[in-house]
């Protein structure tokens, strides 16, 4: 089978750090398929759960609850997101004041090849949902997530990229209504490369958008974030807290933008991008951007890349910690605040454990 895949070029500013060179081969490859043991992949939140293997819904392993599986409404012109638009996926639509019973878990397992799955999260006024998504296995997992939150609706979303191999590309597009809140926390702690795209709009007055996480990379791995938070109405607030850790010859790019429209007075934005290099051969590229057209705006921002504090390493060693343990302890501290925002304790601990496991594997 020949697959014609149109991909953006690194000449385009938003894709300058992207390395999509592995995608044509993955798109042309077939999944291995076979039986997938997914029992150990659930965090076990007791709520609805969905399992997708190579992009195909596994009804017998799923408990969909209020989620509808099938064609997903809406599209995008995003270069990778549009590949998933129109395909079969999942939709969570909750009416006014409704709440999903328990945290919803969506697990994606790949066995090779490419899979494209869209999702739609649409919450009525005052509705609430907590969602955790995990990516495991290999291959190219390409996902489009469209989110629309009516006034006072709240979504907590946690995404972990634990694929051991391959590529994960995520495109999020969100409209957050008046007084509504969207909190997204990502963790990349596997062996796959990733491209994480998001355009999140604080569309209603007093909307809250938080988008952050931890990207860990070693070997030749690459993670590449391109996130935009747009304030389109008055009194909104946003928080982008990203931590990148790069070891060996790995590269992490964090491009995060805050846009404040002319009428979005009293916006309160915070952006913190920090990179940690565990070896001199690794790279972290930061591109913090603020584009502010309103005049009554507070936007705190900071961007730094550095190495572990040598004084701290010696202090820990002088108390008996071997170098690898001291390094892991300081690196865990470096990423801790970015994962601390995950609301549900069980999920937060699972994410922190996964990050600690990655750090524990440091040479």
């Amino acid at each position: 089978m020949t697959t014609l895949l149109e991909l953006p070029s690194t000449r385009e500013e938003a894709w300058r750090w992207a390395d999509l060179s592995a995608l044509p081969a993955l798109a042309g490859a077939a999944a291995l398929g076979g039986t997938v043991a997914a029992d150990d992949l659930w965090i076990g939140c007791g709520g609805p759960r969905l399992l997708f293997v190579d992009g195909a819904y596994q009804a017998e392993a799923s408990v969909p609850g209020p989620i509808v599986v099938g064609p997903v409404a809406g599209g995008t012109d995003h270069a990778l997101g549009r590949l998933a638009a129109g395909a079969a996926g999942w939709t969570l639509a909750l009416g006014r004041e409704a709440a999903a019973a328990g945290t919803i878990e969506v697990v994606h397992v790949g066995t090779g090849g490419a899979s494209h799955v869209p999702a739609r999260i649409e919450l009525g006024e005052g509705a609430q949902a907590s969602i955790v998504e995990s990516f495991h296995g290999a291959g190219w997992a390409n996902r489009l997530t469209l989110i629309a939150l009516a006034a006072e609706a709240r979504v907590m979303r946690a995404v972990r990229i634990g694929q051991t191999d391959g590529f994960v590309s995520l495109r999020d597009e969100a409209e957050v209504g008046r007084g509504a809140s969207l909190v997204t926390t990502l963790l990349a702690a596997g062996g796959a490369d990733s491209r994480l795209d998001a355009t999140l709009v604080a569309a209603g007055e007093g909307a809250f958008v938080e988008h952050g996480g931890v990207l860990l990379a070693r070997g030749q791995q690459r993670h590449d974030l391109a996130a935009v938070v747009r304030h389109a109405a008055e009194g909104g607030s946003s928080r982008q807290v990203w931590r990148a850790v790069a070891d060996d010859r790995a590269t992490v790019g964090l491009a995060a933008r805050v846009e404040v429209a002319r009428n979005a007075q009293r916006t309160d934005g915070e952006q913190s991008l920090r990179g940690l290099l565990l070896k001199r051969s690794a790279s972290v590229n930061l591109k913090p951007e603020l584009e502010i057209f309103a005049d009554d705006v507070k936007c705190a921002h900071g961007a730094t890349v550095g190495e572990l504090d040598r004084q701290a390493l010696f202090y820990l060693a002088s108390r008996g910690l071997p170098p690898a343990v001291a390094q892991a302890l300081l690196t865990r501290a470096f990423v801790a605040d970015a994962l601390g925002r995950i609301g549900e304790e069980r999920v937060r601990e699972a994410f922190q454990d996964e990050a600690a496991r990655w750090l524990g594997e440091m040479a």
């Binding site: 504090d309 040598r310 004084q311 701290a312 010696f314 202090y315 820990l316 060693a317 002088s318 108390r319 008996g320 910690l321 071997p322 170098p323 343990v325 001291a326 302890l329 300081l330 865990r332 501290a333 470096f334 801790a336 605040d337």
Partner: protein
């Protein structure tokens, strides 16, 4: 316990220690005094193995082992403790988490069983109480937001938890008020005054020696011990200044 022979060390090619020799026996407290720039802190760092401090000649034996051949964490496991003049702040790492991992790493290094969470907590609380250090502060990040006095008390709590054989205390008295000085002095005596332990006190001033009485006092100048004596030497230094004695 500790035998330093003709030790030479440099930082960035600049010689700081120039043939320092010193023997510290079990059960002894030695004070090392000297003017700024004499090499006092360098001696502490060289003994603890700080990267960047290069030993160019000489030897150090610690309970029969070659100290200079060990990595910093191995020296800690062997029973050496350096009390820092400026304890390092480590955001995001709690004292309890750090100290438990450190103590258990030392115990594993010595082939001992790691301490359980409950046993460790009891030990840590006991040491904090004995030092007049609020045990609640042990839950906070290492040294972050601590006052100068709190940092020094925290160093002594760490020493109490680790239970070293040899403590090298680098200006542990600096930045302390009278009450804190007494608490720290009492701590040193309680933790380290034992027939199988020893202390090397690095200090500018006599005042800590009012609480921790040294058996031997040495004057360090120009990277060497230029004079040694009993406790009366510290009083003489206080009276006459380093200039007269180190000349």
């Amino acid at each position: 316990m500790l035998t330093i022979s003709d030790l030479h060390a440099e930082i960035d090619g600049k010689a700081i220690l120039n043939g320092l020799s010193l023997a510290v026996g079990a059960g002894e407290v030695h004070a090392i005094m000297g003017p700024n720039g004499a090499g006092k802190s360098t001696l502490g760092y060289v003994l603890a193995g700080r990267p960047g401090y290069e030993v160019t000649a000489g030897s150090v034996a610690f309970n029969g082992a070659d100290l200079l051949d060990m990595a910093p964490h191995e020296r800690a496991a062997a029973g050496l403790f350096l009390g820092f003049q400026y304890p390092v702040e480590i955001p995001g790492v709690s004292n309890l988490q750090f100290l438990r991992e450190a103590l258990n790493a030392q115990r594993r290094g010595r082939g001992e069983e790691p301490l359980s969470g409950a046993a460790f907590l009891k030990l840590a609380r006991g040491q904090a109480d004995a030092l007049g250090f609020d045990p609640e502060m042990l839950k906070r990040p290492v040294n972050v937001g601590f006052s100068g006095g709190e940092k020094k008390r925290a160093e002594m709590v760490q020493m109490g938890i680790m239970g070293p054989k040899l403590a090298i205390l680098d200006e542990t008295d600096s930045g302390l008020d009278i009450d804190a000085l007494r608490a720290v002095g009492d701590g040193i005596n309680r933790i380290m005054r034992a027939p199988d332990k020893a202390v090397l006190l690095i200090t500018h001033y006599q005042r800590l020696l009012d609480y921790v009485r040294p058996d031997h006092v040495h004057v360090l100048a120009g990277g060497r011990i230029v004079r040694s004596g009993g406790p009366e030497l510290a009083l003489e230094l206080e009276r006459e200044g380093y200039g007269a004695i180190a000349a």
